[in-house]
Symmetry: C2
Subunit: 414 residues, 2 copies
Amino acid sequence: MTVLEQLGLRAKTAARVLATASTAEKNDALLKIADALLQNTAYILEENQKDLENGRKNGLSDALLDRLALSDARIAGMAEGVRAVARLQDPVGAVLCETARPNGLKIQKVTVPLGVIGVIFEARPNVTSDAASLCLKAGNAVILRGGKEAICSNTAIAAVMRGALEQSALPADCVQLVADTSRESATAMMRLNRYIDVLIPRGGAGLIRAVVENASVPVIETGVGNCHIYVDKDADLDMAAEIVYNAKTSRVSVCNAAESLLLHSAIAEKALPKIKARLDEKQVELRGDERARAICPEIAPADETDWGTEYLDYKMSVKIVDTLDAAISHIFTYSTGHSECIVTENQNTAEQFLNEVDAAAVYHNASTRFTDGGEFGFGAEIGISTQKLHARGPLGLPQLVSMKYKIYGNGQIR
Amino acid sequence: MTVLEQLGLRAKTAARVLATASTAEKNDALLKIADALLQNTAYILEENQKDLENGRKNGLSDALLDRLALSDARIAGMAEGVRAVARLQDPVGAVLCETARPNGLKIQKVTVPLGVIGVIFEARPNVTSDAASLCLKAGNAVILRGGKEAICSNTAIAAVMRGALEQSALPADCVQLVADTSRESATAMMRLNRYIDVLIPRGGAGLIRAVVENASVPVIETGVGNCHIYVDKDADLDMAAEIVYNAKTSRVSVCNAAESLLLHSAIAEKALPKIKARLDEKQVELRGDERARAICPEIAPADETDWGTEYLDYKMSVKIVDTLDAAISHIFTYSTGHSECIVTENQNTAEQFLNEVDAAAVYHNASTRFTDGGEFGFGAEIGISTQKLHARGPLGLPQLVSMKYKIYGNGQIR
């Protein structure tokens, strides 16, 4: 058995205990984890300092160093996040339906944990406690694998969590961290079907692509959002400008930020200068088709790659369309299935857009920035699913479970 | 674009139309397909004859030739299967829940089609119409890829179905067959993430393993069932003998057949001869541990591989255990998560088994053979999922859909 297989077996064994743990036992363990994070703040910060020093030596960008950096406040935030998960409803053990068959069999469909969840993530050490607490509350053991940049921080946080679990009714092996941060170990983890039930990648497009391409363990694909806002001919243009401004600029680095603007030709001449004026306040660089550039010649020309690009930056593509169908067709071609929005005062047009556009979240007259577990009222989330299998949109606790059938008979044979 | 990519794009384009087709349109298309299958029986049989001749030339086994062979009755059965799917409830467009957020956003969660489903299957040509009709009713375009042994039959059936679709409101490209039956084409299909949303393999363990290992498209793993029956110390032994006999012998080649028998030591001396006598009627070969062989010395010795083997044959492993926990631990180690059963008159013991055993279907006092879409009341099914993501157990129409969030605002920004 490899080190990773041993770790997998320990996780599967812990998951078996965790699967039938009571809500009170799980909450108690979570609160102990939160306390331990606070009590060990100094130790965690010390280990985090090592990552930061290594990062500076290795020339990490300031943005990456910022993601990596912990502080008293950030650790307090992590602890509060764990407490918030303890307050959420336990998703395990719900009876989804119950049927009696003509032969007398009673079939009950109940929620059960997924089992062992593998989480592969990049530089943010807070993912360690965020992901672990959600997995644990849903009755799942978790195998965490963070980036090498954060290995000291992650190791410290995982050790603190495991120490807290040792004081609880749950096995410490409910939370494990992969110490080996090599690419080979990541690939081996993606193919550990015998012990891992589900893989959730959290990170940039490159990480997610690598997991989707290499994993044989079932994956919940998260993240990439090439989100569009379509301003219809019947739009309230003031509302449109506010929504585009918010969706593009309130936080450019996130997956629910808007990347592309579609304008109906009937209102484009009025709408584009108005929206552009608002985006100019944040120096958003627009890249447009010929018709957009005819209206605002200072817009740079867009090429084919722009339509498919998730900029994650102060950039936005803009295209003029003549019909609702043309807007929907453009989205059909370039959407990543994350979040799409129509701005219109026409209810029929809105309903057609909401029905025909295929994405996790489709908005009428609201910013795409609302695609978020907290904003949807789910509490914490572990990512935004952009695939159609299992769960779509924010992955909260209700999405971190599976189900099974319990069948009650009195000797039925077939 | 490769031929397969072109096919994928056509499927995705057809799926877009199909996603918003009405139930009446889909049912009309299904009934036209059923009629066309009957009207073209002679043509389909002629093409099937070519496959059978090739099969005989290539030395296919009688069992395989039987699976491959169509007849008037089998084609009538296929047509009736399609009609049955038309009668089932449309799973698309159901409102799963609706919430109003404090900021006034109304969030509606609705069922939508998965999109494009790839089905990779082996020798049975009836899968062509079974799978296509289920996918179509759930609003999904389907790309079918059968084995090379059945290529003439599958091509004929797909052509008949597409001909019927041309007379309907739905695009013919809702149903497509991959003509290239090479291994390379199968692998390329498994990695067609841009156009295929979900892959469902239907076939033996080798096919399923190949799909799980090679696919980057999300897979619903189906099929392998190393199913156990545990006869508890408080079991009704007559009931136990009937359930074991039924679960083992009523159809040995299916995934819900029992493969392994666990007996509590307190009743093993009475139970084993009784159950063995019943299994002897069908010449079931038992392979047991030392304690089972001490009771019935004519039982062959089991080795480690027996505990993990899905025989799909008149063979069964048998082991004596001292406790319920030992039975559950054995199942934990060797189960494929398909169907597991306890026979006992003790309700508490039963409930513990049902809660602690992790499988798609866990039975109390009933044969494992009931794990089936029809027996569960789902109508037709496309397979039995043994994974925990998305759906577990029989995959009927309700499992062939995804969901999306429709969000109604009036200018909300974040």
